[in-house]
């Protein structure tokens, strides 16, 4: 299933409702609805509490620290001692529309800076979730995380003659 899984097209968005500064466990949301990009697939109801139980620390998913510093080697060289940022929500940095003319023009002007090749929100979700799910044998099918909408069925031509063998199967 692979592919499907990630497919996303449609995406969801992380709406970390709670917010403000999530510096303490108490501020941490139990549940997050990642649904701002939802169109061909429903949004993801993300069980944040369950994932925090699994994870070693916040930086396993969040680059920006919420108590623990970053562990990514490429980040450490600059950000070993960086302060916490105001928001650790994915959509605080990863934009929903990374290929808008405006965004691309801004990129052009800052080509030699770091972070210029930052993925959009949809890719950020999928890379983050699916990468880990593969490593930890989590679900990786598209509809394991978000059900396809009627519009999605139409889009993928689910009704095309041959019966779909698609579906399950990892990649």
């Amino acid at each position: 299933m692979s592919a499907k899984q990630v497919l996303t097209t449609l995406m969801m968005a992380l709406v970390l409702v709670a917010t403000g500064s999530l510096t303490q466990a108490a501020d941490m949301p139990e549940q997050a609805s990642l649904d701002t990009l939802a169109k061909l697939f429903d949004g993801v109801e993300f069980d944040h509490a369950m994932h925090t139980d699994l994870g070693e620390d916040c930086s396993a998913c969040h680059h920006h620290t919420t108590g623990t510093g970053t562990t990514d080697e490429r980040c450490i060289s600059c950000h070993a001692d960086s302060d916490e940022v105001a928001s650790v929500a994915c959509n605080a940095c990863h934009v929903a529309d990374p290929f808008s003319a405006e965004y691309i023009n801004r990129k052009s002007l800052n080509l030699y800076q770091y972070h210029v090749d930052m993925p959009g929100l949809k890719a950020a979700y999928h890379w983050n979730c699916v990468g880990c799910h593969e490593a930890m044998d989590g679900p990786t099918g598209c509809q394991d995380c978000h059900a396809r909408t009627a519009e999605g069925d139409d889009f993928y031509r689910a009704d095309a003659s041959d019966t779909s063998t698609s579906g399950k199967g990892g990649h």
Partner: protein
């Protein structure tokens, strides 16, 4: 007699001059080499990110109003399809402007997927081979096609080094070439990314200015040592293309022609096109000269005599 020769010589010269004028612009347009509009857009395809979901195929189908597929776009069994004795994988055609193929490269422990579509060359072979100028390289970087003037010679399909254009052979009255146009009409010229890029869940397709994409591509190669082959396919190949590829395995293992050369296809015919003005300019004088020499050698204008005798008609035709 000499009067005749002169008149004939003049006639020949006039014919030659007319031909030269006629062919004047050929060389001019063929000359030079073009490396793309500076603000032209492009797409960087990162094979390490593609998961073979075929959403791009679905998006393309919808955006371009293409006919319904035989199988749903989430059906992955299409990757097992091969053609012509197993040598060929799927290719774009008149019903699908882009297809994704799966490869099992020797140097990788997992399959890789490669999206195929028009690469939108800087100096497109299809464009330079088209005798009705049906193709245009737009300033946004797309290679678009005007079906209203296409005669259907299919030279573009012969010329395309990537085997991209498809032809609607089954249409009797309006067969045309069909290929990816970078969503130029509906999206690109309005500053939007093509539909396939928009839909990609993995951002395997990065849309941007071509010159920026080259820097971004090189940055990716640098910041992820070992992940990529140190090469951006399409940066220089065949004069450079607007769509370019990054891969974790040598490109020939994922179906690319490893050595297409960096010369655009049109350079192969420049030698010939260069001879055109020379032939047009030199031949008339040269052969008329031969003619005069041949007559002189004979010592008489036997051409006319022979003609007279041959026709048995009045000798003083001049």
């Amino acid at each position: 007699m000499s009067g005749i020769s002169r008149r004939r010589f003049l006639a020949a010269s006039v014919a030659g001059c007319a031909a030269t004028t006629l062919a004047g612009p050929k060389k001019a347009l063929a000359a030079g080499s073009f490396t793309g509009y500076s603000d032209g857009m492009g797409v960087l395809v990162d094979l390490t990110r593609c998961i073979g979901c075929r959403s791009c195929e679905a998006a393309c189908n919808k955006e371009q109003n293409l006919p319904a597929p035989d199988r749903p776009f989430d059906d992955q069994t299409v990757f097992d399809e091969t053609f012509h004795g197993g040598k060929q994988k799927r290719r774009p055609d008149e019903n699908a402007y882009t297809v994704v193929n799966r490869y099992n490269p020797e140097s990788s422990d997992h399959p890789l997927f490669r999206k195929v579509q028009c690469n939108h060359c800087n100096e497109p072979a299809c464009l330079s081979s088209c005798f009705v100028n049906a193709y245009t390289k737009t300033k946004e970087g797309a290679v678009v096609y005007n079906p209203k003037v296409c005669v259907g010679c299919r030279n573009c399909m012969i010329a395309c080094p990537f085997n991209i254009p498809g032809y609607s052979y089954s249409s009797a009255f309006d067969p045309v070439v069909k290929k990816c146009i970078f969503c130029h009409e509906t999206r690109l010229k309005n500053g939007l990314p093509p539909a396939c890029v928009d839909i990609c869940p993995q951002e395997a397709l990065t849309f941007g200015k071509r010159r920026d994409l080259l820097k971004i591509g090189n940055q990716r190669i640098q910041t992820h040592p070992g992940r990529y082959v140190d090469h951006i396919y399409g940066e220089k190949e065949l004069g450079g293309t607007s769509w370019m590829y990054l891969s974790s395995v040598p490109f020939e293992e994922v179906g690319f022609d490893p050595n297409p050369g960096n010369e655009p296809i049109i350079n192969n015919v420049k030698d010939f096109l260069g001879t055109v003005p020379m032939v047009l300019a030199i031949w008339p004088a040269m052969f008329t000269g031969f003619h005069l020499l041949a007559k002189k050698r004979d010592g008489h204008d036997d051409h006319d005599q022979d003609a007279d005798q041959h026709n048995g008609e009045e000798g003083g035709e001049q």
